[in-house]
């Protein structure tokens, strides 16, 4: 009986023990299951939230059944319609830029082989409109218990803007690095220094100045200049006022050699409009400066030479004229004396002719010097007919000898805006030329015309004389000391003087001529406004 009771109790206790134990295990299993379910749910929720919240495009590749799912990013960022988005990895793969595809294939299969957890790469991905976007892709693998990769989840981040900016910066950097101009970038912080510290110099600066990058970074640019340079003061004042500045100043190389530099400097501000740096672009202008100096010196010398020459020509002219005027005066006096001796008479006549010719030449030369020396000349309205009559009076003797037929087709009151003395000298030269170079077989005819137009007045002098071979002498007609006929009283100065006088009045002269037919000069004057 006691044994039975003991047996029953023992069994009961054992059963109770097992029940309690089993309950514990069950409870533990249940808790475990419950937790696991929670984790999965939470992970799923987290994934969904992230997939929704992120601006990235996320894809999920089930490697076992080769299913490939994109989130909505593929529509928003790349412009694809929901229906056309494929559900295989091939669809994703086909849209990678042809230049990137080999690299990406190798990279991703390497990743899958190695079974590492994370993968990251950059490539270009095609949008619906055919354009490409730069992508930074970050993916990871999910493994089963046997360490088999069963899933890959990856995020495509659109980094097109960054890439463009990066390329732009690279381009700008290339410019700075490769430009022939020296570039210096300095810090804006100049609180403790008069001039800020250098943070960058390019290669051109090193070539120009002899200072290497490490020599100057951290230094103040004052090391390149001498103190008390007034241009340096300008620079410092611009630095203090955060102003742009452009100066030309003497700079010094590392070896102490001086060189001229054109120096421009601009303040640089960041997005918050805070002044952060100074950029200075410099160019070695020593050669230009030297050329300028040489030019200045040359101009100075030329001006002096010109002045000396002018003085010389006046003095020469004066010294020639003094004895010549004596000769002329004496010859004039001799004209009143009857010379009995015929031989002496011939000699005095020849003496007289030569003296007058010499006098004319020197007087013309004097006029040329004066014209060249006085580029601007007083002008007035000159009655042309009167001037022609004045000239004909002056040369009445030689006109009488030749007795030309002179036809003047000019109204008596017609005037021309010119310098009277020059105009009469021009008329004199052209008429005496016609007389000198008249034909031996035709009686001389001279025709003078005036054509008045709105802006231009033209005077023409036409004769039927010997003419000039223009083909042969074209470039020499109005030159100095050019003679086209072997005449003893020709000086080769007349037309040069005529041209100089016309040009000094702002006019122009042209010639037409045929040998043994005649010559026509056309003189053009602009009418005053």
């Amino acid at each position: 009986m006691f044994l039975d009771v003991f047996f029953i109790l023992t069994i009961g206790l054992l059963i109770r023990y097992f029940i309690i134990r089993s309950e514990k295990v069950n409870k533990f299993n249940f808790e475990k299951l419950k937790n696991s379910n929670n984790e999965i749910r939470e992970a799923k929720e987290r994934y969904d939230i992230v997939a929704k919240a992120t601006s990235d495009t996320i894809w999920d590749w089930n490697i076992k059944n080769n299913e490939f799912v994109f989130n909505k990013g593929i529509q928003g960022i790349f412009g694809y319609d929901k229906e056309e988005v494929g559900n295989t990895p091939k669809w994703w793969f086909d849209r990678i830029h042809p230049q990137d595809i080999i690299r990406i294939s190798i990279s991703i299969y390497g990743f899958l082989e190695k079974k590492s957890q994370k993968w990251q790469d950059e490539y270009r991905f095609k949008c619906k409109d055919g354009s490409y976007k730069y992508i930074l892709e970050r993916g990871f693998l999910v493994f089963d218990d046997n360490l088999q990769a069963i899933r890959m989840i990856s995020a495509m981040q659109d980094i097109t803007q960054q890439k463009i900016e990066e390329q732009r910066l690279k381009l700008l950097e290339t410019v700075i690095v490769n430009t022939k101009d020296a570039v210096i970038i300095a810090d804006a912080d100049n609180s403790d220094l008069k001039i800020p510290k250098i943070v960058f110099v390019n290669e051109s600066f090193s070539i120009m100045s002899g200072y290497q990058y490490n020599d100057v970074v951290g230094q103040s640019p004052v090391i390149f200049y001498k103190e008390n340079d007034p241009e340096l003061e300008t620079l410092i004042s611009c630095l203090a006022n955060i102003q742009e500045c452009e100066i030309e100043t003497l700079s010094y190389k590392k070896n102490g050699e001086a060189y001229w530099v054109q120096f421009s400097m601009v303040p640089v501000f960041n997005a918050e409009k805070i002044h952060t740096h100074w950029i200075s672009i410099q160019r070695d202008i020593t050669e230009r400066k030297n050329q300028e100096k040489e030019k200045e010196q040359l101009i100075k010398e030329l001006t002096q030479n010109n002045k000396d020459l002018r003085q010389f020509s006046y003095i020469t002219s004066h010294n020639l004229r003094s004895p010549l005027s004596n000769l002329i005066g004496l010859l004039k006096l001799s004209e009143d004396i009857v010379i009995e001796n015929q031989e002496l008479k011939l000699i005095v006549d020849g003496f007289s002719k030569s003296t007058y010719l010499l006098n004319e030449t020197i007087s013309d030369l004097g006029k040329v010097v004066i014209i060249r020396d006085n580029p601007s000349i007083d002008k007035q309205n000159v009655v042309l007919f009167e001037s022609i009559e004045n000239v004909l009076d002056q040369i009445a003797i030689s006109v009488k000898k030749t007795n030309p037929l002179i036809e003047i087709n000019i109204k008596k009151d017609a005037y021309i805006y010119a310098n009277k003395a020059y105009l009469e000298s021009i008329i004199l030269n052209l008429i005496t030329n016609s007389i000198k170079y008249k034909s031996e077989i035709r009686p001389l005819k001279i025709k003078i015309d005036l054509v008045e137009e709105e802006t231009l007045t033209t005077i023409t002098f036409q004769d039927n004389g010997l003419g000039i071979d223009l083909v042969k002498y074209k470039d020499k007609i109005f030159g100095l000391y050019q003679k086209f006929h072997n005449y003893p009283d020709s000086k080769g100065l007349g037309l040069y003087l005529v041209k100089s006088q016309i040009e000094s009045m702002g006019g122009k002269i042209e010639i037409e001529s045929d040998v043994d037919v005649g010559t026509k000069f056309s003189i053009y004057f602009k009418n005053p406004q």
């Binding site: 003094s322 005066g329 004496l330």
Partner: protein
């Protein structure tokens, strides 16, 4: 009227020529050749001290510019500052071979200068002078 003519020129031929022309044209009652500005000033000073300057006589000077010792310009300046008061009727005529336009301009600054003539002197010029200035 008594016309006294001073010819101031360093060139003896020019002086001879002026003398011949003046004589031939019956222009001068008396001709005094002087070789440069200094000689001319001395002559005037001497005449002044002798006080034989007759205000009724016409004193005409033909003055060259380019001369040694004292040129025409210096003569004009000294004359104007020292002697002009004593010779109010003096008439100075520049007779020169210069063609420098600046000489002509400079001559205009001297009120005593009547004309700027180019050499040589001729009877035509003389008769024009008589006519224009009532010499």
């Amino acid at each position: 009227m008594y016309r006294k003519v001073l010819c101031i020129d360093d060139d003896p031929i020019a002086l001879l020529l002026s003398k011949l022309v003046l004589t031939k044209a019956n222009f001068a009652s008396e001709i005094v050749p002087l070789h440069n500005g200094e000689v001319a000033l001395n002559y005037l000073a001497l005449n002044e001290t002798k006080n034989n300057y007759d205000s009724n006589q016409n004193l005409i000077v033909f003055l060259d510019l380019n001369m040694p010792i004292m040129d025409g310009w210096e003569f004009l300046e000294k004359f104007q500052s020292q002697y002009y008061v004593n010779y109010p009727n003096i008439k100075i005529i520049l007779l020169t071979s210069s063609v420098d336009p600046s000489d002509k301009e400079r001559a205009n600054q001297f009120p005593t200068v009547l004309e700027f003539l180019s050499k040589p002197l001729s009877k035509e010029v003389l008769s024009r002078l008589v006519e224009n200035y009532n010499l």
